[in-house]
Amino acid sequence: MRCTKCQKIYDEAAQGLLSENLQRKVRDHLAECPVCSVFWQENEALRFALRETARPAAVPDAPYFARLARRAVAQAQVETTEVNGERSEARGWLDAVGGLLTGLRFGMAGLVQATALLAVGVVAGLGIARGLKSGQIEKTKVADIVTSMPTEQAALPPLVGPTFSPTLPDTGSSMMAKGAVAENEGDLITKVDETPRPAVDPATLVQTWQKTLALLDKMGPSDEVERLRQIQQVSRQVQASTILNRLQDLKLQLVRTGQTDYIPDVHRIEEVFSRLAAASRDTQASEFAHLDTYQKAEEALIRKRYDEAMRLFKMVVIQAPGTYLAARATHQMGNISFERFRDYKNALIDYDLCLNEYPRHFLSDAIQEQIHERVDLITQNSTDSYGPLRTFAQAEATSQPAAALGLYSTLLKQYPQSPLIEPTIGAMTRIVRQVADDTTAVNTVLDVLDQFQDQNPGHPLALDAQLGLADVTNFCVRNRSQAVLEYTKILEKAKDPEKIKTVQERLRSLEKAR
């Protein structure tokens, strides 16, 4: 028996799962291999120590548990009453729609109508998505939506144009947007290359959804419903989560553009569509049973109450395991760990669950792409207990340009092989342009970039560092002749067409200035 095998089967052996034959082989091996023998003895000693100390020396008595049980019942009843009170206040304008849907919930006719309504939602979502892509919102009149319904449901266009942030509102979220420096809390460091905004204001989208809902509200057993019945075949093929993913993306955009006042409206819309989805064939009502908790968690997240948000998201995962909402909650938990708590190990576990434990369609493509990027970053920056990621995140979060530059410099010096080097060089160059008058900061950046080039001659990003140096020389030091010299050198070496184009533009503007 090999040592690796002997050590690998320790857990099985501890559970008593080994066959007699294998047990004998292990015994023989342990008798002759001191390494494995030590390994086994240490494990046994550890188990003994853990078991010996695991039990409390004293355990409370029966009255303690009786008291605890009574207190728990009282507390649970208080909490339930509070939640019910809040719910009854929150219903408002959706009562009419809700009542209609509850009425439709059971029976074949109800199912047909609800499915038809779901189709309207899906098509409206597609319409909005297409409108967003083209920069125009389409009309939401039901008849128009039906006639303009696309035939291929699979080819859904993405709702958002640019890379968007997760639900969390600020700094850390922009971490993955390559080439963009974070807008931080104090706005002292602003983006030079502004990330493009969505073509359509998310608030307009919310209003459009509300109009669609108003139309749904007015619809009864009319001709319109009959017409919609014709498209139920198509709607059955659309996963209920597709439409809800659209709403999720919409929420992300609202957060990103700082229009969080609209979130409660989207939550109401989401509730209606969840109920519609729950009545369709491909979904079960239990998928959305914990929407309330999920939405509360999102609201807590927006109010930056991260502990509470985490607790509520966890509740969703525990209470509705394997469901669509659990997938989204797990994703949000990963985001909180990643962005807020910088707990990359747990973020990795949550992201891993998102990608491997839930069906793919539960999370939109954009979110999945973002998760993949983050998983790569975490796994590639795991040295020094995720030192590079932590440093980068700290640099992004700080509102002091000097402090940010210091942290970026540390990152460049200590972790030259990190994939975060590219955004770091970009960030440094941009920040120093904002504080061009601060000669100390400018000199620091020049030194660090210069040093990086010297110490990492074959580095794939050495040219980026050189470009950074040239830019600082051009925009901050304003030594034009030196800048021209630097740019020319880069032009000789560069192979990337985009880089060549950038350098040529810089040279042209320098010539004009002359």
Binding site: S37, R47, A49, A54, P56, V59, N346
Partner: protein
């Protein structure tokens, strides 16, 4: 009473909101829950808090449990998750108020045990216990749950995977990592003494 031995009828009565049934249930499984939580957090105050929270959840959410037969797994999962979130909350609070941080020592429970032995042994045992508790608390939540459920509670890998909602491979990985860290931090208790090692090496060379 072990969690597996809880009568189904009792759980069903609790699901219907029967308060006396709930008190009966807590009386039966309370000690087990207490021990299970303590094994993870190694602190009586924390255990108390977590147990309280678990019982509130148990009362509130038991009606949502569809398959009553899965009650033991369900409650174990709840405990593991509560321990995770409690630790999480603690770490956040600690991070936010490091200035006000006061070292809180483990409550002295040894004197309550009349069979604790002579004072020197008690002291030694206390030191070892404190070191082990500290090492366990230092582990990341998932690793801690995995190793405690496996080594202390005697759960199988499959049961732990079910409780922690992850793959069996992930459980094995977590146990392996936890073991590695614990061996390192508890090397003085777990590793063999140098003299023994030397003896072994000599015999190895001799052989």
């Amino acid at each position: 009473m072990a969690l597996q031995d809880v009568p189904i009828e009792l759980v069903v009565r609790c699901q219907k909101g029967d308060q006396s049934a709930f008190e009966d249930l807590v009386a039966r499984i309370g000690v087990d829950l207490y021990k299970m939580i303590y094994a993870q957090v190694r602190d009586h105050d924390d255990t108390d808090e977590i147990l309280q929270e678990c019982l509130i959840r148990l009362y509130k959410h038991l009606p949502t449990l569809r398959e009553v037969a899965k009650f033991p797994g369900w409650i174990s999962r709840m405990i593991v998750n509560q321990c995770h979130s409690h630790r999480f909350k603690r770490s956040r609070t600690a991070m936010e108020s490091t200035d006000e941080m006061v070292e809180i020592s483990e409550p002295d429970v040894m004197w309550q045990n009349p069979h604790a032995g002579n004072p020197r042994k008690v002291l030694m045992r206390k030191e070892i216990q404190a070191d082990i508790n500290e090492a366990i608390r230092e582990l990341p939540p998932r690793q801690r749950s995995a190793i405690v459920l496996f080594e202390v509670e005697g759960f199988s890998i499959r049961e732990i995977a079910g409780t922690m909602k992850c793959s069996e491979g992930a459980v094995k990985f977590n146990i392996h990592q936890a073991r590695k860290k614990l061996k390192l931090s508890l090397r003085q208790y777990v590793r063999q003494r140098p003299s023994e090692r030397q003896k072994e090496r000599k015999s190895e060379v001799g052989g």
